[in-house]
Amino acid sequence: MSFPKKPGGKALDVLQNLPRITLANLRPEPGARKTLHKQHGGNRSGRGHKGERQRGNRPRLGFEGGQTPFYLAIPKYGYNEGHSRRPQYQPLSLKRLQYLIDLGRVDPTQPIDLTQLVNARGVTIQPLKRDYGVQLVDEGADIFASKINIEVQRASEGAVAAIERNGGVITTGFYDPISLGILIKPVPFFLRGQPIPKRMLPGEDMVPYYTDAENRGYLADPEKIQQARLALAKKYGYILPDISKDELYHMLAMRKDVRQIFFGLAPGWVVSMPEKKILKTTDEKLLKYYSS
C-alpha cells in the first residue's frame, strides 16, 4: 500500500468515457425519493365499520374505558421535583482527557481550563440547562499519564489522586452561570463590547465544598491542600512527586484569582476584537468595584 493509488479510483476513469454531466443528466440516487402514497379508495375510506372509530369520536389518549388509567393509578413521588434547580456537571473521564492530550487537541504545557476543553470540543456545556461546569470522573485513572494543571468544577477522589500521582495540579473552582457562559464562548462575549464581569462567589450550599482542602477547592487554605495531597498519596499508595523542583513549576502553579474568569484578563477590562485592543478603566469607583 505504499505506492500512491490513482486518486478518485476507477469511477473517474469510467467518467471519462461517459457523456458530459449536465443539468439534464442529474437524477437522485434510486431509492432516495420514496413516494408517499396517501390513502385512496376503500369502502369506508380506511376508517373501519361504525362506532367511535368511523365517526371520529374516540376518547382522549390514556383513557381506559373507565378503569383508573395508568397515569392516575401510579402515586406521585418527587423524583424530578426541583430538577431545574439542581446544578449539573458534565462528566469528563480521565480516559477522554488522555485521548484529547494524545491527539494534540488539548495542550498540556498550558493550564487546562474549561475554555481549552470546549475549544478542543472535548466536552459540550449548556449553561442554560443548569450546567455549572465539568466534573472529573475516575474512569481511565489507571491509564492516565500526563502532567497537567487543570481546573474543573468538581472532581472525584480517584481522579484527583490520578492527576497528582503524575505530578499535576488540580483545582476546583466555581463559576456562576453568567461567568460560565462567558468562559465557554469567549469570542461572542468579546464581540458584545461589555466589560468582563467579576466571577461571583459560590452560594451557601456550595461554600463548604469549595473551602474544603479534600476537594482542592479554590477557596481552601494552601497549607491544608498540601497536607491533603500527602494524605491522599498515603491513602492511594503512591509517592507524591515534588512539583516545586519541576521545570514547569511556574505553569503548574498558575491559578486564577477568586474573581477572575480568564487567565491574563482582569474583571472590568473591555476586549475590542476588531481593533485588537484591551481597554482598561481609570475611574476610581469602577476600579474599586472590580477589585473588591
Binding site: 500512491p4 486518486p7 457523456p19 475549544n119 464581540l191
Partner: protein
C-alpha cells in the same frame, strides 16, 4: 452502463452508419441524435507524461495524503491563439479527484434551484370569497339541494378547497459539508471529463469578443465557457469581451457554484483561483464543529 460504448459522436456515428450500409451514402433526414454526445474533434489532450519538459508552475500548498498523488494538468494561456501549454500544475486530489458522487450533485443543484423559491400562488377559501354569509334558500321544502352558503367549493364562483395558500417558501439549507462536497465533486467531474482548463492569468490582447470565440473554437473547448478568477478587479479587456457574449461568462471565485459549472460546458480557472479554492474547500475536511456561527471570527477560518 454500457450505453456509453455505443455512443461515439454526431458526425462520427453518422459516418459509421453510412459505411456499414453500402447502399446509402447520405445521412437519413430524420436522424435524431442526442446533443450531449461526445465530439471527437474535441481535443482530448492526454494528461502530462511524467517526463515532460515544461516547468511545474504550481505545487500543492496543502499536505497531500500519502496514499494519494496530486493531479497533474496543463497550464495554458489566453494571450495567444496558438494553444501551446505554458507549463504544468499540480492539483490537490481531495478537491479535484474525489469520487464522482452524482447524487450529491443532484442534491446541491435542486437546493440551489429551490431554496430561493417563493411561490406567490394564492387562492381564496370559502371564508375569504366575497359574500356567502346567508343561507341561499331554506333547508327543506324548496326541492333543491341543501346549501349553507353560495361560496362553498361546490359552487361556481366559490372558494377553492385545498388550493395554494399565500406565498409559500421552499427555503431549506443543506449541511455545509454537503455543499462543500458538491463543489468538490463538480470540480472533479469537470477535471475527469477534461472540461476543466487552467490558465495563468486572464490578460487578453484585445477586448473584442470575437477573439475569445476564435480562441475557444481553436482550442475546441466547447460551446460555453465559465471563467473564474479571484479578486475584486478583473482586466478590462476580458470584462468587455465577455459582457456582450451570452455563452462565455466570468464570475469571481466566491461565486463558484454547482449550477453554473454544470450549465457551462467548460470551466477555466486561474492559478490564484485554485489556491483560493483549495484553501477554502480543504479546511472543511478537518475542522471542528462550530461553537458559534462561522460569521463570527475564528482564529483558523481561511
Amino acid at each position: 452502463m454500457f450505453r456509453c460504448t455505443l455512443v461515439v459522436c454526431g458526425r462520427g456515428v453518422a459516418k459509421r452508419f453510412a459505411s456499414s450500409f453500402p447502399g446509402e451514402s447520405a445521412l437519413p433526414p430524420n436522424l435524431l441524435l442526442p446533443t450531449n454526445l461526445v465530439d471527437p474533434a474535441r481535443l482530448r489532450r492526454p494528461p502530462p507524461p511524467a517526463d515532460c519538459s515544461l516547468p511545474l508552475l504550481r505545487k500543492c500548498d496543502a499536505v497531500v495524503p500519502a496514499h494519494l498523488s496530486p493531479v497533474q494538468t496543463w497550464v495554458e494561456t489566453l494571450a495567444r491563439l496558438d494553444g501551446e501549454p505554458l507549463g504544468l500544475a499540480q492539483l490537490h486530489p481531495d478537491v479535484f479527484a474525489v469520487h464522482p458522487r452524482l447524487d450529491i450533485l443532484h442534491e446541491v443543484e435542486t437546493w440551489q434551484r429551490n431554496y430561493k423559491r417563493i411561490s406567490h400562488a394564492s387562492t381564496k377559501i370559502r371564508s375569504e370569497v366575497r359574500g356567502g354569509g346567508r343561507k341561499p334558500w331554506k333547508q327543506k321544502g324548496s326541492g333543491r339541494a341543501r346549501h349553507g352558503s353560495i361560496r362553498s367549493p361546490l359552487w361556481k364562483g366559490g372558494g377553492v378547497a385545498n388550493g395554494p395558500r399565500g406565498p409559500t417558501s421552499y427555503f431549506y439549507m443543506l449541511p455545509m459539508k454537503v455543499r462543500v462536497q458538491g463543489l468538490k465533486v463538480a470540480l472533479s467531474s469537470k477535471m475527469a471529463q477534461q472540461y476543466l482548463h487552467i490558465v495563468d492569468s486572464l490578460n487578453i490582447p484585445s477586448p473584442d469578443p470575437q477573439y475569445l470565440l476564435d480562441l475557444i473554437r481553436h482550442k475546441h473547448w466547447g460551446e460555453s465557457l465559465l471563467i473564474v478568477d479571484v479578486g475584486e478587479e478583473f482586466p478590462e479587456n476580458i470584462l468587455q469581451a465577455t459582457a456582450s457574449l451570452k455563452t462565455v461568462n466570468i464570475i469571481p471565485a466566491i461565486g463558484l457554484n454547482v449550477h453554473s459549472m454544470l450549465k457551462h460546458e467548460a470551466v477555466v480557472l486561474t492559478l490564484e483561483t485554485i489556491k483560493f479554492l483549495e484553501d477554502k474547500l480543504l479546511w472543511h475536511d478537518q475542522r471542528y464543529t462550530p461553537l458559534y456561527p462561522f460569521k463570527l471570527p475564528y482564529s483558523d477560518f481561511p
